[in-house]
């Protein structure tokens, strides 16, 4: 299953990559693969912007606007004029965030 094309905010800076392989290990959608001692973004459209790769790259070679892709959270954010906030307390929540 793939989500929308070319929306993911994943950025990769190969010049900073040391080829440690952490990003490939933590990514739940196999976005990275390793080639000649460096990471390669092989499946950008699979990225769900979870942020695991950027958080675990010790060399700052990856950046991504991490967040939960949850419509309820985005609508919440729009209504309150804030960032998307998953406030699923009470009856309003879908399975989002739990």
């Amino acid at each position: 299953m793939k989500y929308l094309k070319e929306t993911a905010t994943l950025k990769y800076f190969p010049e900073k990559c040391t080829g440690c392989g952490r990003c490939g290990e933590v990514c739940p959608h196999n976005v990275f693969s390793m080639s000649r001692g460096k990471a390669v973004v092989a499946h950008r459209d699979r990225c769900m912007e979870c942020g695991a790769c950027a958080k675990n790259c010790d060399f700052g070679a990856i950046s991504v606007d991490a967040g939960v892709g949850c419509a309820a959270a985005v609508i919440n954010g729009i209504l309150r004029g804030t960032e998307p906030s998953c406030d699923c307390g009470g009856s309003s929540g879908s399975a989002c965030c739990c």
Partner: protein, 392 residues
């Protein structure tokens, strides 16, 4: 076995604070650093089978076989708001009889997360270090940062893990990685973070193969069962809002120049009430269930086309929905597929492959259409009433 009573063990379930953590109770956090916490302070729930002595004092031993009542609680947590009160006390637990060389698995204090982990460790000797995530599962808590570097570092220190074991590694579920920086944990505590497999059921294989996870173990799946298990939480909130829609439908059909007539409300309203149920079922259940088989990548579009197909079938083949008035047919085809689309879009929150940028994009185009479509449906209803009353 002696029960150690010490410092700072008063713990209670606090009600969810307004604006607080989403989807879960806030378990009280303990005081300063380097204070070992004793979960439940010796007043153990039934799934604790005893205590084991460790270098750092007694540690409660958790059963690795879930009892029927616990499995039932899992179903309750899937279907109702019970999941917001479904937590265990953070701290250190044992399964089997672990020693100074045993593995340390990190978990969240959502009881479902903890239960799945401990039952996957059946037959093994291991430590489980439960972080305080406010009763939220690993993945969601990692996204919020409550399952994160700071809490992990704090627990490794406060539970004195470095004197509990001789090795220097902790096994963190891969789905916790969005909250945990392995490098920072290493720097602050000396412990290496090993990322375990996505699914706890792969843990035995992961440990046996020398702490390596196959690519398959690293992938998040979203199979039909994974999706179905999430649909109650889509249907439930939608069902709660349905009565409002039903009242509006009854009012529209019951309203006459002479007053509100219940008989007309019912006879005219029934097809639309059935339609509302259909839209809900299509958007919150069928669309998630059939997700990969519906064309388009956008959830909003998937929800819309599926529901449109359903309603086109209904107005052509089901007598209840074969209206004489074109207005009624139009209302049905304008409003209900949009409602389903909106509901299907909500499923982005539960799906395991949507991203925030994509959802924002869907809403950017979707919201104006939802609002516009609702206005058109209201105008059509007005036109229908005007025609019915013969005003024009």
């Amino acid at each position: 076995m002696k029960i150690v009573s010490t410092i700072d063990t008063a713990q209670s379930l606090k009600p969810l604070q307004a604006g607080g953590v989403c989807c879960g109770p806030v378990l009280s956090t303990r005081g300063g650093p380097a204070m070992r916490s004793y979960p439940y302070n010796g007043r153990y729930p039934a799934w604790i089978t005893g205590e084991i002595n460790s270098a750092e004092g007694p540690v409660p031993v958790a059963a690795t076989v879930l009892r029927p009542s616990e499995k039932f609680a899992h179903i309750r947590a899937r279907v109702t708001n019970f999941r917001m009160r479904f937590s265990v006390e953070p701290g250190l637990y044992a399964v089997g009889s672990p020693d100074r060389s045993s593995d340390i698995f990190i978990s969240a204090n959502y009881k479902m997360s903890f239960d799945i982990l401990r039952s996957s460790l059946h037959g093994m000797n291991a430590w489980i270090l439960v972080l305080d995530t406010g009763g939220i599962n690993v993945w969601c808590a990692a996204g919020k940062g409550t399952f994160g570097t700071d809490e992990l570092v704090k627990r490794i220190n406060s539970e004195r893990i470095s004197s509990l074991v001789d090795h220097r590694k902790v096994i963190v579920p891969q789905l916790g990685a969005p909250g945990v920086s392995a490098g920072q944990v290493k720097k602050s505590t000396g412990f290496h973070v090993l990322y375990g497999p996505v699914r706890a059921s792969d843990i035995a294989g992961y440990v046996q193969s020398g702490y390596t996870a196959s690519p398959e173990m690293r992938r998040m799946r979203f199979a039909v069962m994974d999706r179905l298990i999430l649909t109650p939480m889509e249907l439930n909130p939608a069902m709660k809002k349905l009565p409002y829609l039903i009242v509006v439908i009854l009012l529209i059909f019951g309203l006459k120049p002479e007053g509100i007539f219940f008989r007309d409300a019912l006879s005219g309203g029934v097809p639309f009430i059935a339609g509302a149920f259909g839209a809900l079922f299509s958007g919150a259940f069928l669309a998630p269930a059939l997700l990969p088989f519906i064309p388009f990548r956008s959830f909003a579009l998937k929800g819309w086309v599926l529901s449109m197909a359903v309603f086109l079938l209904m107005i052509n083949y089901v007598p209840l929905f074969m209206f004489e008035s074109y207005y009624l047919t139009a209302i049905m085809l304008v409003f209900f597929p949009l409602l389903s689309s909106y509901l299907a879009l909500q499923f982005t929150g539960a799906s395991t492959y949507t991203n925030l940028s994509g959802v924002k994009k869907e809403l950017k185009y979707g919201l104006p259409l939802y609002i516009g479509g609702t206005i058109i449906a209201v105008l059509l209803a007005a036109a229908y009433k005007i025609q019915e009353w013969g005003i024009l």
